[in-house]
């Protein structure tokens, strides 16, 4: 369905190129739900936008984005326009701003339908009412303007819009951030139902691991533009092999769990500056379990599954022998397949 192959995105700025995504390989099977988590600024949204070539002109994208075997990055404009929304649609991070403030939501949902499907205005309107109903809104709401809706409602409109052309892939970028728990729960349930009933593939981005582990089949954790851990959702959440993944997971208190009572978990240190990444493993300055040679070796994803299946992490500690033997060689030798030298 979706296959990312060495996706790299850099933003050109006045102070040089900001490497936002640094070589991401991911696959997503039909009907599968993949969660992407990670720290703020780790490149999640950039990744999502790159999938449909929606990045600003200042971004340079390399690598391959195969959608049903076709490389999005090489498509002609016409083909790309056809794929957009009909093949894959996006629910953007801020629903507030992702809707045109001066158009009714009905018009906005109708727009892709009229464009991608050969239906008349009336049929499109009927479809809009149906979609609104599906996301739990009154069909009458089609005549409302975005500002007349609450954040949760706008988010639902975005979902309805994303489903309008019955795409194969839905990309949801933080669909619930900034919503309170109750609304968040409503929306997650909704997405879950819709995706399940239509066999749509879902790529969901969030910084909230607990939410992702709930909704998704598989989970990817990003740090500084790289995927540092990927695997079955529950496993990544509960038994992360990468120290960053582990730290993220443990930062979520469990209500009623005496372990987290009066004991908030943090991750000391500052988020990495993408333009001045530390040498070696980008996470090593904050890593609680760093090894001496972590500032030398930059590990790539490596099978880390306890029971083998599909769990990978990019940490020297998952390597046999903590990667120590490799570290000794990389200081002098060419990069191996498993480890790249940064200098």
């Amino acid at each position: 369905m979706l296959e990312l192959d060495g996706l790299t995105v850099g933003y050109r700025t006045r102070d040089g190129v900001v490497p936002a995504v640094r070589g991401v390989d991911l696959t997503l099977a039909r009907g599968e739900k993949l969660g992407v988590a990670g720290e703020s600024g780790s490149g999640k949204s950039t990744l999502a936008l790159a999938l449909l070539r929606l990045l600003p002109p200042s971004a340079t994208v390399t690598g391959r984005v195969l959608l049903d075997g076709e490389d999005v990055l090489e498509m002609g404009w016409g083909r790309l326009r056809a794929v957009r929304w009909a093949g894959a649609s996006i629910i953007f991070q801020g629903a507030m701003h992702s809707l045109n403030p001066v158009q009714t939501i009905g018009d906005q949902i109708t727009e892709p339908i009229l464009r991608h499907q050969k239906v008349g205005r009336d049929a499109a309107d009927a479809r809009v009412r149906e979609l609104l109903g599906q996301v739990g809104m009154l069909p009458d709401r089609a005549r409302s303007y975005p500002h007349e809706l609450s954040g949760g409602q706008r988010q639902r409109v975005m979902i309805a819009m994303a489903l309008a052309c019955e795409p194969d892939l839905v990309i949801a970028d933080e669909p619930t951030t900034a919503l309170d728990v109750m609304v968040q729960a409503q929306i997650l349930t909704l997405i879950d139902d819709l995706v399940a009933s239509r066999g749509i593939s879902l790529l969901m981005i969030s910084h909230d691991l607990s939410v992702l582990s709930d909704v998704c089949d598989r989970l990817a954790v990003m740090y500084a533009g790289r995927v540092v851990e990927v695997g079955p959702a529950g496993e990544v959440f509960r038994q992360a092999r990468h120290p960053y993944g582990a730290a993220l997971a443990s930062a979520f208190p469990t209500v009623g769990d005496p372990a987290s009572r009066m004991r908030p978990q943090g991750l000391p240190g500052d988020p990495p500056d993408p333009q001045a990444l530390p040498t070696g493993c980008a996470f090593h300055p904050r890593c609680p379990v760093r090894l001496d040679h972590c500032d030398d070796v930059d590990p790539v994803l490596w099978p880390a599954g306890l029971d083998g299946a599909g769990h990978e992490a990019a940490c020297v500690r998952v390597l046999p022998d903590d990667g120590r033997s490799l570290a000794a060689t990389v200081a002098h030798a060419a990069p191996t397949s498993a480890v790249e030298a940064t200098r």
Binding site: V83, R84, F92, S98, N100, R115, M137
Partner: protein
């Protein structure tokens, strides 16, 4: 400059009126259904309140203007009676008779009251110089002014908006830079000066256009339309040249402000063409400040056209005012001032009222 409309997108150009936040939704779906009727009533009431508030504000401003018009021009020294008699040797009695006729002998307050009552009946009195009702004099000249100024407004707004949109969409391009540069240069040129140069070059020099006036005397029918159009070219070009930059810059900057907006990414993600994204999504959002600007300018251009009208001997309103000032032809200047100001206030009001039609966020 002008007051620009409320929109979060243009904080720097914007006069944020006492608007507070955008009104929130009126509650959950269930509530909405139950309250359907109530909401319509509510909206009606709120519309009325909004309208009422704007009308009241405009009325207050108008009253202030009427007061001002009466007293402002009375500080200009000069004896209207003397001017009316044109320095002829007239007897004291004749002078007094004239003063009586124009009510200038009465106490100020009484004059003011009768003036006020007149204004309320749209009676601005009779011009000292022309022995004619101010209103009918205005009526005669309004047509040419509206024709010239209206046309220039339409052309400059269209031109400015179009170039502004192109510039913003391709900002930083050579075309953008050249366009903005040319517009700014013309904007910095005195209009009367430009007009004179145009006359020398295109009228008497190349002979392409008439030097001045609105039409050739005696021409009628369809020929007259062509003749007027022919006469209008140079004044129109002058007016347009010096003002279109304003529209261009406002349009450009408000569109630039919209350019980063997420809803444009949404539109692209939906598979729209670039021009469709521009025209159907970006433009309607960026149009708001410019619309207000246009409307406010409609009010202002009546004042502003005096220079071009003078240079091209266009038989419009502008000159009347400044000639009346030196007399001072009190009824005339008072009347014109009130009418001009009322136009500004009215256009402000209209833009206030039109605004919600363009931007649902401003809806009461």
């Amino acid at each position: 400059m002008t007051e620009l409309p409320p929109s979060d997108a243009v904080p720097h150009l914007d006069e944020v009126r006492d608007r507070g936040d955008a009104p929130r939704g009126t509650g959950g779906a269930a509530v909405a259904l139950a309250d359907r009727r109530g909401r319509d009533d509510d909206r009606l009431r709120r519309n009325a309140a909004y309208l009422g508030k704007r009308l009241l504000g405009a009325a207050v401003s108008l009253v202030a203007v009427i007061f001002t018009s009466f007293f402002l021009f009375r500080i200009i020294p000069g004896d209207p009676v003397r001017v009316m008699t044109h320095g002829r040797p007239v007897t004291i009695e004749q002078k007094e008779a004239l003063a009586r006729e124009f009510g200038l002998d009465k106490p100020m307050l009484e004059q003011f009251v009768s003036y006020l009552l007149g204004v309320l009946r749209f009676d601005f009195g009779e011009s000292f110089q022309y022995n004619r009702p101010v209103l009918s004099m205005v009526g005669e000249r309004l047509g040419p002014t509206l024709l010239l100024v209206g046309a220039s407004l339409a052309v400059s707004a269209a031109l400015g908006l179009w170039l502004g949109v192109q510039g913003a969409w391709k900002h930083g391009s050579t075309a953008d830079r050249v366009n903005t540069g040319v517009a700014l240069t013309l904007w910095s040129v005195p209009s009367f000066w430009l007009g004179l140069i145009l006359i020398v070059v295109f009228a008497s020099g190349l002979g392409w256009f008439p030097t001045s006036g609105m039409k050739t005397p005696g021409v009628t029918g369809f020929d007259m339309v062509l003749d007027v159009a022919h006469h209008m070219v140079l004044p129109l070009v002058t007016l347009v040249a010096v003002v279109y930059a304003q529209y261009l810059l406002v349009m450009r900057s408000s569109l630039l402000d919209e350019m980063g907006s997420d809803y444009l990414t949404t539109a692209r993600a939906k598979g729209l063409r670039d021009t469709e994204v521009k025209r159907q999504h970006a433009l309607p959002n960026a149009l708001l400040p410019t619309t207000t600007l246009v409307f406010i300018n409609i009010g202002f251009v009546l004042f502003g056209a005096v220079l071009v009208e003078t240079v091209f001997s266009w038989p419009g309103l502008g000159k009347l005012f400044y000639e009346g000032l030196s007399v001072p032809d009190l009824p005339l200047v008072q009347g014109l001032f009130v009418i001009f100001s009322a136009a500004v206030i009215l256009m402000n009001l209209v833009s206030d009222l039109i605004y919600p039609l363009i931007d649902p966020r401003v809806r009461p």
